[in-house]
């Protein structure tokens, strides 16, 4: 299976097809009536049978590593188990067949789910209301920042053009702020990756629209000055934005709204167990505290007595999606919330945190722990303790692939040069963690005894290390480019 190396185009044989469609109904209205509006030649799509397609994509799938393949401790991504019942419900015809523009009376079920899920997310976050429309975390950030801007402008305050972003933030934070037309004020973090209060005070002014913060931060540590931070920013007239990428850690422990955050997004594909889909579709609902609800994007879902309806709010920031976002993703999150309920959602953060600390303690003799204090849902190492061998974090990550583990997030956060960010999540058992720890220790040993083994790794995967420079230089980005370069 490992040797399978084809593109679907390379299976093509003229005349084959993978579908059976109805016949045309007589000669009336042939497409050629469109005459000069039609393209001259057909697109060079593959011509393959149904089995060709099924076998090709099955073979491709087997070159992938998923959460169900094995342990996937990719930091900041919360690769928890994706429950099957969620997929089953999302596949129900009564949900799949709904047109998003059907009248409200015909879509009461989905509007109820929208309304109830936003209510549950509000309770979990300590905020007033959520919109489920944003498609992903980054779009949630952008939407939240639009709300921040709209809030200030609504008060006639147009001079707040700056957003504070700590240097330890996820890359999406400054990128979202820039996309929203803000200037970014980056403030350096303390050695522990926390907000430096003096640096914060120094940049606060009436030009600050607000501040974006992840807590626990990207080092997986909870900023104990959080109440002071939110107070300072509020006192300067700014709003606090909570980047919910690390929300999993605090489930059952505290709520962003209670910490003083005004706006936040949640990555449903992280904290609320929806599948990551090889990079999406995700879902990034945005929540706001009381007083900011009117700014949430359109369309808005409201309830009047027993009836749900759709509204376009006059004060809304506008629209960030064609319809209601990734419905089948937030439907899965709804099922997840119902399954865990109040009894189990509160345990998520505790179990995720105990798992991360278990790994942190077990590996600190072999991997450099830059900050030796409690982690939350993830722990960050800075490469191997023994740096004399020339073995890098990249080599360690690649060697893990040979042992059947997905690698942690590497080279992020940027505060350290050899970052290894491990997020086990609450769905992993002590036995799995023990196996991972044993392999991490073994790899650390190999780095000393046979560093070349790590430099060569991985060797048991479908392909070995890839020449990234060639890819960037040649820019072979399509099959047509590939043919132009190599011939048929």
């Amino acid at each position: 299976m490992k040797t399978y190396d084809r593109l679907i185009f390379e299976l093509s044989v003229p005349g084959r097809t993978g579908v059976a469609l109805p016949s045309l109904t007589g000669k009336k209205h042939p497409l050629r009536e469109l005459g000069g509006l039609l393209r001259a030649t057909a697109p060079a799509l593959p011509e393959v049978s149904e089995l060709d397609v099924v076998r090709h994509y099955t073979n491709l799938s087997q070159k992938n590593f998923g959460v169900e393949t094995g342990f996937y401790p990719l930091g900041s991504c919360t690769m928890k188990y994706n429950p099957k019942i969620n997929d089953e419900i999302a596949g129900m015809p009564a949900f799949n067949q709904l047109h998003p523009l059907q009248p409200a009376a015909q879509i009461q079920g989905v509007l109820k789910i929208y309304h109830e899920l936003q209510g549950m997310l509000s309770e979990i976050s300590g905020l007033a209301e959520f919109s489920l429309n944003p498609y992903a975390g980054a779009q949630g950030e952008l939407t939240g920042l639009m709300i921040m801007k709209a809030y200030h402008e609504d008060k006639g305050d147009f001079k707040r053009k700056k957003v504070i972003v700590p240097d330890a933030a996820h890359g999406t934070n400054p990128a979202s702020a820039a996309l929203c037309g803000f200037d970014i004020v980056e403030i350096p973090s303390t050695a522990q990756g926390f907000v430096d209060l003096d640096e914060l005070k120094a940049v606060l002014s009436d030009e600050i629209a607000g501040m974006m913060l992840t807590n626990p931060n990207t080092l997986g540590m909870f900023d104990r000055n959080i109440l002071e931070i939110t107070k300072l920013v509020h006192a300067a007239g700014g709003l606090m934005y909570y980047d919910g990428a690390n929300l999993n850690a605090i489930l059952g422990q505290c709520r962003p709204g209670d910490l003083g955050f005004d706006i936040m997004h949640i990555n449903l594909h992280k904290t609320f167990s929806t599948p990551h889909g090889g990079g999406g579709p995700g879902s990034g609902p945005v929540g706001v505290r009381k007083g900011l609800e009117a700014f949430l994007p359109n369309p808005q879902v409201k309830k009047d007595g027993p009836d749900y309806y759709v509204e376009k709010g006059a004060d809304a920031i506008g629209s960030v999606s064609g319809f209601f976002g990734n419905f089948k993703v937030w439907l899965r999150a709804y099922v997840y919330c119902l399954t865990l309920g109040k009894e189990h959602l509160k345990d998520v953060g505790r179990f995720a945190t105990i798992n991360a600390n278990y790994v942190r303690v077990a590996l600190k003799d072999d991997y450099r722990l830059p900050i030796d204090s409690f982690a939350m849902h993830e722990c960050v190492f800075d490469g191997l303790v023994d740096q004399s061998t020339g073995v890098t974090t990249l080599d360690v990550a690649k060697r893990l692939l040979d042992y059947g583990f997905h690698a942690p997030t590497i080279y992020f956060p940027l505060l350290f040069h050899q970052s290894i960010m491990i997020e086990p999540t609450e769905t992993e058992s002590m036995q799995t963690l023990d196996e991972f720890i044993a392999i991490m220790k073994k790899v650390a040993d190999e780095a000393k005894t046979d560093p070349d083994l790590l430099k060569r790794a991985p060797t048991t995967t479908p392909v070995t290390r890839i020449d990234e420079v060639y890819a960037a230089k040649k820019m072979i980005l399509t099959f047509q480019d590939f043919i132009a370069e190599n011939g048929r």
């Binding site: 993978g18 579908v19 109904t25 497409l31 469109l34 039609l38 057909a42 799509l45 393959v48 397609v53 994509y57 491709l60 087997q62 070159k63 590593f65 998923g66 959460v67 393949t69 690769m79 596949g91 129900m92 799949n96 047109h99 998003p100 015909q106 109820k112 498609y135 992903a136 999406t172 400054p174 702020a177 990551h276 889909g277 090889g278 990079g279 999406g280 579709p281 960030v320 064609g322 319809f323 976002g325 419905f327 089948k328 109040k342 009894e343 189990h344 959602l345 105990i354 600390n357 278990y358 303690v361 692939l401 392909v463 070995t464 890839i466 020449d467 990234e468 820019m475 072979i476 980005l477």
Partner: protein, 443 residues
């Protein structure tokens, strides 16, 4: 114990001992006491799987799925059974962004195939790995145009679907990008008005095909006027129709964008769908989002990898082309499998059938005497008609018979208050079309 948490009491005791804590709360000392949760969430009690199925069946029954005869950005095309089966493979479904390419060649290969197919359909040179949806792809295209021209204004044809225009307006407003609309003449983008509006501040112009009224515009003279002004032509297209219509490249566009929902993706109350974005090679570094390129591994084996990442947020932060991180990857796989199954002949047949069915309904509705043409322009699967009937009556009658259609364009513009939309795909049978026409014709 709970089924998603494997922690037994003895495991927990062993783990606490190893960590060196007496109680779990010791790990949370940094959370200020004042804000620690003292009470449970006010949430419903946990449900068993038996209860979940019952509850969700009950909620599902509150929906009334209908036989769809409208479009406006979401089309009821046929979804081959193969796709759902392959998409549910956990290796595709539960993996994430292919950061470790050695164990993500499945994802990287299909993205490469997807990029290839998007360029085949659009006539462009390069495509990214996916955008959220058609409207956000259009907004990102505007930012590309802004960056390509160092100008600050976008012209949007009034024949562009308002749900695209609204997202463009929202993104543009906050970025500080000016937007103006090009009036419509006879259902098409007015070329004289476009020429009048073009000036040295215009970065890009967005047009749509088929447009909001379903009309297949020819765009004669449009790209010439735009390019003469040094501006960028952005064409938003229903990608399914590009299998038979002239491509954005044929039309002279610099950027092609739009939705791939029409590639058989379930209507699913609006998502997940898939946006595509494609351009000419010289502009590739201005593209947002992920791009996969071909390379080789150390053994000389062909391999695929994320490339040109210096455009992206995790490297460039505030200087990135966009903030996009997670995209709609699994839906790109959907589109790729769909197009593989269809091949050039299948996707052509889809368009032929849709064309034939839509024109059949058009003829039948006109024959009822209760509908009259708004424009006399070529259309493919979607069209609008004037109606003399009370629209509440129409929609009630359709709902009673299990149909959804005749969506009003009153929100678009008050002068269109008597105009309604219809769309017909290959999925509609002759009987459905005839009965639909009979229901509204009988009013």
């Amino acid at each position: 114990m709970f089924k998603y948490f494997p922690h037994t009491e003895s495991d927990l005791a062993a783990m606490r001992a190893k960590i060196g804590i007496a109680a779990d709360q010791d790990m949370f000392v940094d959370i200020p006491e004042a804000v620690r949760m003292k009470k449970d969430y006010k949430l419903p009690a946990a449900l068993s799987e038996i209860e979940i199925r019952a509850k969700l069946s009950e909620i599902a029954a509150m929906n009334r799925p209908a036989i769809v005869f409208s479009g406006l950005g979401a089309y009821d095309h046929y979804d081959p059974s193969v796709i759902g089966a392959l998409l549910s493979r956990q290796e595709f479904l539960t993996s994430y962004t292919p950061y470790q390419p050695e164990i993500a060649q499945g994802t990287l290969s299909y993205i490469f195939e997807y990029q290839s197919m998007v360029t085949m359909l659009t006539g462009m040179d390069v495509s990214n790995a996916s955008m959220y949806d058609g409207p956000t792809a259009a907004a990102e295209a505007c930012f590309m145009a802004m960056s390509m021209t160092k100008r600050n204004k976008i012209l949007v044809s009034a024949a562009v679907n308002p749900n695209i225009a609204e997202v463009v307006l929202t993104y543009a407003h906050f970025r500080g990008l000016e937007v103006a609309f090009i009036p419509v003449a006879e259902g098409e983008t007015s070329l004289p008005d476009l020429k009048n509006l073009l000036d040295e501040t215009v970065a890009g112009v967005i047009v749509q095909k088929p447009n909001y009224f379903g009309i297949v515009e020819s765009f004669d003279g449009v790209s010439e006027a735009i390019h003469q002004n040094g501006s960028v032509m952005i064409e938003s297209c229903d990608i399914s129709t590009l299998a038979v219509l002239k491509t954005p490249a044929d039309d002279g566009a610099d950027i092609a964008c739009g939705d791939c929902q029409s590639l058989g993706m379930p209507l699913a109350f609006g998502g997940p769908y898939l946006g595509y974005l494609a351009t000419k090679k010289p502009h590739v570094r201005r593209m947002p989002g992920r791009i996969v390129g071909q390379s080789f591994d150390r053994n000389g084996k062909r391999a695929f990898v994320l490339t040109l990442q210096a455009r992206e947020q995790h490297i460039r932060r505030e200087k990135a082309n966009s903030n996009i991180c997670s995209n709609q990857s699994l839906m790109a796989l959907y589109a790729t499998i769909y197009l593989s199954l269809m091949g050039p002949d299948g996707i052509k047949r889809v368009n032929e059938l849709s064309y034939q069915n839509a024109h059949k309904l058009y003829d039948l509705l006109i024959a009822t005497g209760k509908f009259t043409p708004v424009f006399k322009k070529p259309f493919l699967k979607e069209f609008v008609l004037h109606t003399s009937l009370d629209q509440t009556l129409i929609r009630q009658a359709l709902a009673d018979h299990g149909y959804f259609g005749a969506v009003s364009l009153a929100d678009y513009d008050d002068s269109y208050r008597d105009v309604v939309n219809f769309a017909v795909t290959e999925k509609r049978t002759q009987e459905e079309i005839e009965r639909f026409a009979a229901v509204v014709g009988g009013l």
